[in-house]
C-alpha cells in the first residue's frame, strides 16, 4: 500500500501543478481566453493521443503530423462548409464531374491492366504498360483540370462545401487521414525505420503545397472562414458559453478515446504491439505479423490525429493552408508526447496541458525578455536593434523547442510520467 502511494505521489504533484497553471491563466487573462486555451489543449490532446499510439505503443516515427492535420481539416471543411450555390449552378460543376469521371476511367484501366490474366507472368511488360497508363491518365487529368479550375476560380471562387453536419466532417477527416496513413505506411513500414520519418515529412509538405495552391478547391491563401461549429457559435450565445460547449464536446471525445486506449493498452492486442516495439525479432519469431500490426497502429494513430486536427481547425474557425506550420503542428506535439512520457496515455494528457500552456505563455514572455535586452542594449552600448527584432525574438521559441527535444531525449527519455512496465 505504501509503495502504491509513493508511486502515485509524483503524478498527484504534477496534476496539481497543471491545475495551478490553468487557474493562473484563468485568473490573469479572464475566462474567455482560458476556455479558448483549454479547448485548444483538448484538440491537441486528441492529436497527441494519436501520436502516443504511433510512437509510444509501436515506436513509429511520424515527422509529418502537420500533413495529417491539414488534410483532415480540409476534408472537414469540404464536408461541413455551406453549399456554394454559384458553383453548383455554373457549368463548371458538371465539367468538374467529367474531369473526375475521366480520372476514374483511367484508374479503372490501370487496375485492369494490372490484373489482366494474360499479363500475369510477364512482369516487365505489365509494369511498362502500367507506367504508360499512369502517365497518360495523369497528363490527361492535369490538362483537363487546368481550364476547369481556372473557370471555377474566376467565377464562383471555389467549390464550397457540402453543408453536412460538422461531426460528419470530423469523422470524414479522420477516415481520409487514415487512408493517407495506409498509403504511406504500406510503402515504408517494411523498410528502415528512418524512411517513415522522411516519407511523412515529405507528404506533409506536399499536402500543404497542394492545399495552398489549389485555389479552386480550398481558396488557397484567401482562406475559408467562418467554419461552421458543432455547437452554437459565439455570435449567438457569447464567447464563454459557446467555448464551454465546444470544450465539453471535445472532452467527451477525449474521454471515449482515452477509455478505449486504456483498454487496448492492457488487452492482448496492446501487449502484442509493445512486444513488437521492444523486440521485433522475437515477436516475429513467435509468428506475429510485425508489419501488419504496425500498419494498424499507424492508421489508428493517424485517424486520431485527423479527428483532433479537424476539431482544432474548426475551433479556430478559419481554414488557412499557410497557417499549418511544422513547428506548431508537428514538433510541438512531439514535445508534448515525449515530455509527458511516451507510451503512457496519462503522461500524454499531462504533457499536452503543460507544454501548451508554456507555449502560449512563451510568446509574451520572450517578447518581454527581448524588450529588456533591447532596452539594456540601447542604454549600455547604444545598440540600435534591427526593424524585425520582435519577429526574430519569437524565433527563440523554435530554438527552445529544439533544445527541449534534445534535452528530454538525453536526460529523461521516458518523460515526466514514465510508462509503467507491468510484470506478470
Amino acid at each position: 500500500m505504501n509503495t502504491l502511494l509513493t508511486g502515485y505521489k509524483k503524478e498527484a504533484l504534477i496534476v496539481s501543478f497543471c491545475g495551478v497553471l490553468i487557474a493562473l491563466v484563468f485568473a490573469n487573462f479572464g475566462s474567455a481566453f482560458g476556455l479558448r486555451m483549454l479547448t485548444e489543449i483538448a484538440c491537441f490532446t486528441i492529436i497527441a493521443l494519436g501520436l502516443t499510439i504511433q510512437w509510444g505503443f509501436a515506436g513509429l516515427f511520424n515527422a509529418g503530423i502537420m500533413g495529417f492535420i491539414a488534410l483532415a481539416a480540409f476534408v472537414s471543411m469540404l464536408v461541413s462548409y455551406p453549399v456554394n450555390e454559384a458553383f453548383w449552378q455554373s457549368d463548371f460543376s458538371s465539367q468538374l464531374g467529367w474531369v473526375f469521371a475521366k480520372l476514374l476511367l483511367g484508374v479503372a484501366i490501370i487496375w485492369g491492366i494490372n490484373s489482366l490474366p494474360t499479363l500475369r507472368n510477364r512482369i516487365k511488360l505489365r509494369r511498362l504498360l502500367v507506367v504508360i497508363a499512369i502517365a497518360i491518365t495523369y497528363l490527361v487529368f492535369m490538362q483537363n483540370l487546368a481550364p476547369v479550375a481556372r473557370g471555377i476560380e474566376t467565377g464562383a471562387g471555389f467549390i464550397g462545401g457540402f453543408g453536412l453536419p460538422v461531426w460528419m466532417g470530423w469523422i470524414a477527416g479522420g477516415i481520409v487521414a487514415g487512408i493517407l496513413a495506409w498509403f504511406v505506411g504500406h510503402i515504408c513500414l517494411g523498410l528502415r525505420s528512418d524512411y517513415l520519418a522522411i516519407a511523412t515529412l515529405g507528404i506533409a509538405e506536399i499536402i500543404k503545397a497542394v492545399l495552398k495552391n489549389a485555389d479552386w478547391l480550398t481558396r488557397g491563401t484567401l482562406t475559408v472562414s467562418p467554419l461552421p461549429w458543432p455547437v452554437e457559435t459565439p455570435g449567438e450565445i457569447g464567447f464563454i458559453a459557446s467555448r464551454a460547449q465546444y470544450l465539453s464536446v471535445t472532452i467527451v471525445i477525449i474521454a471515449v478515446i482515452f477509455w478505449l486506449l486504456q483498454r487496448a493498452y492492457s488487452a492482448p492486442w496492446g501487449r502484442m504491439i509493445r512486444a513488437i516495439r521492444d523486440n521485433e525479432l522475437s515477436s516475429a519469431a513467435m509468428g506475429k505479423d510485425v508489419n501488419g500490426r504496425r500498419l494498424e497502429v499507424f492508421i489508428l494513430g493517424s485517424v486520431l490525429m485527423g479527428v483532433g486536427g479537424a476539431a482544432l481547425v474548426t475551433f479556430n474557425s478559419i481554414f488557412d493552408p499557410s497557417g499549418f506550420l511544422p513547428l506548431h503542428h508537428t514538433f510541438l506535439i512531439w514535445v508534448m508526447v515525449i515530455l509527458g512520457g511516451a507510451g503512457n496515455n496519462t503522461g500524454t494528457l499531462i504533457g499536452t496541458v503543460i507544454v501548451y500552456i508554456v507555449w502560449v505563455m512563451s510568446e509574451p514572455a520572450t517578447l518581454w525578455v527581448f524588450e529588456g535586452i533591447k532596452h539594456l542594449g540601447l542604454e549600455w552600448f547604444a545598440w540600435q536593434v534591427p526593424n524585425d527584432f520582435d519577429s526574430r525574438a519569437l524565433q527563440m521559441r523554435v530554438f527552445l523547442i529544439g533544445l527541449t527535444i534534445t534535452l528530454v531525449l538525453r536526460f529523461a527519455p521516458s518523460g515526466l510520467i514514465p510508462e509503467k512496465i507491468r510484470e506478470h
Partner: protein
C-alpha cells in the same frame, strides 16, 4: 534552334547546378547514414549555417574577392567550411554521442537530429532575420552569354560565374572524396565501419576518430553546397527545409551508405526536377501551323506545375522505395 538553347538553359544547366548541390548534400547524408546509421535531419540547416558563415565573412571582408578575381563568397568558402565542420563535430559531441553511448535506437537519433534542426533554425533566424540576402551586394555577378555558331540561334546559352564555380567545386570534391575513401587510412577505416561496425571495432579501428572524420567531411561539404547555392540564387533561412527532402531522396536513390551512388542520385533528382517543371509546349510551338485542327496546343505542357516542384523528389523516393529499396547501387536496407 532557340528552343533547344532554351532547353539547355532551363533544364541542363539549372539541373546540373541544383543536382551538384543535392549531390554534395547527399554525400554527407549518406556517409552519416552508413557510419552512424541514422537519417540526419539537421543536414539542411548545416548547409544554411555554412552559407551564413560565408555571408558573414563576406560582409566583414568585402574586398577579399577582388584581390583574387573571384566572388568574395567563394574566397571565404574554405573558412566557412572549416567553421561548419567544427560545429558539426561539436554538435555530435554534445547531442548525438551521449545518445549513442546510451545505445538508443536509430529512430531516437533521428528525433534528436530534428531537435538540433530546430535549434539551428532558431539561432540562424534570431541572428540572421528571415529576409533573403544576396552575396553580390558589393561586386558584380559575372554572367557569361555564349552564342552558338548556328544561323537561326538568336538566343544565347547563359551561365553564371557561381554556377561554373559550383561545377568545378563539385568535380573537385568528388575526386577528393574518392581519394579519401580509397587511398587514406581514415577512408579505409570509414568503409570498414560502414560495412561492419563490430568487426571494425574488434580489428582495432578507432570508431571515435572515424566518426569525427565523417562529421568533418559531411559538415564541410554541407557548408560548400549551401554557400554555392546561395551564391547562385540567394541566401534564405528556409533554404534547409526545401533541400532536405531532395537530399534524402538522392541518398536513397543512390543506395544508402554509398557515396558514389549519392552523387548519381543527386543529379537524378536535380534533372528530374528541372525536366518535370520544363514547359514542353515550347518544342511544339514551331510546328503550330502544321498541327491538326483538333489538337489544341496548350500554352503550358509542364509535367508538374512549378509550385508543386516538391512532389518530384517525393515521387522519386516513393518509386525507389517500392521497386528497389536498396537504391541503384545496393545500399543498406536495415
Amino acid at each position: 534552334m532557340n528552343e533547344i538553347i532554351f532547353f539547355i538553359n532551363k533544364v541542363l544547366i539549372s539541373g546540373a547546378a541544383i543536382g551538384s548541390v543535392y549531390a554534395m548534400g547527399a554525400i554527407g547524408v549518406t556517409l552519416i547514414f552508413g557510419i552512424l546509421r541514422f537519417a540526419h535531419f539537421a543536414h539542411g540547416d548545416m548547409m544554411t549555417l555554412g552559407a551564413f558563415f560565408a555571408f558573414a565573412l563576406t560582409v566583414m571582408f568585402p574586398q577579399a574577392g577582388q584581390a583574387i578575381g573571384l566572388p568574395t563568397g567563394f574566397v571565404m568558402l574554405p573558412v566557412a567550411m572549416l567553421l561548419t565542420a567544427i560545429i558539426a563535430v561539436l554538435l555530435d559531441k554534445t547531442f548525438y554521442l551521449p545518445l549513442r553511448n546510451n545505445n538508443v535506437s536509430p529512430v531516437v537519433m533521428v528525433m534528436a537530429s530534428i531537435g538540433v534542426t530546430l535549434m539551428l533554425q532558431g539561432l540562424i533566424r534570431l541572428f540572421g532575420g528571415i529576409e533573403a540576402r544576396y552575396f553580390f551586394f558589393a561586386e558584380r555577378k559575372d554572367i557569361f552569354r555564349i552564342a552558338l555558331p548556328f544561323e537561326d540561334a538568336s538566343r544565347k546559352i547563359v551561365i553564371t560565374e557561381p554556377q561554373i564555380l559550383l561545377f568545378l567545386f563539385t568535380l573537385f570534391s568528388v575526386f577528393a572524396i574518392h581519394y579519401i575513401l580509397n587511398k587514406t587510412k581514415f577512408g579505409k577505416a570509414m568503409r570498414a565501419v560502414s560495412d561492419n561496425p563490430d568487426l571494425a571495432r574488434v580489428s582495432g579501428i578507432n570508431i571515435q576518430k572515424v566518426t569525427i572524420v565523417t562529421w568533418l567531411i559531411a559538415g564541410s561539404l554541407a557548408a560548400a553546397a549551401g554557400t554555392l547555392l546561395s551564391l547562385d540564387v540567394s541566401l534564405k533561412p528556409d533554404l534547409s527545409f526545401n533541400l532536405l527532402l531532395p537530399i534524402f531522396a538522392a541518398a536513397i536513390v543512390g543506395g544508402v551508405g554509398h557515396p558514389y551512388g549519392a552523387i548519381v542520385g543527386g543529379y537524378v533528382v536535380g534533372f528530374a526536377e528541372t525536366l518535370s517543371i520544363f514547359n514542353w509546349a515550347i518544342f511544339l510551338r514551331p510546328f503550330r501551323d502544321s498541327l491538326p485542327e483538333w489538337f489544341e496546343l496548350s500554352s503550358n505542357l509542364a509535367l508538374v506545375p512549378t509550385e508543386y516542384k516538391i512532389t518530384v523528389p517525393f515521387f522519386i523516393l516513393v518509386v525507389i522505395l517500392i521497386w528497389r529499396p536498396t537504391g541503384l547501387f545496393k545500399g543498406k536496407v536495415i
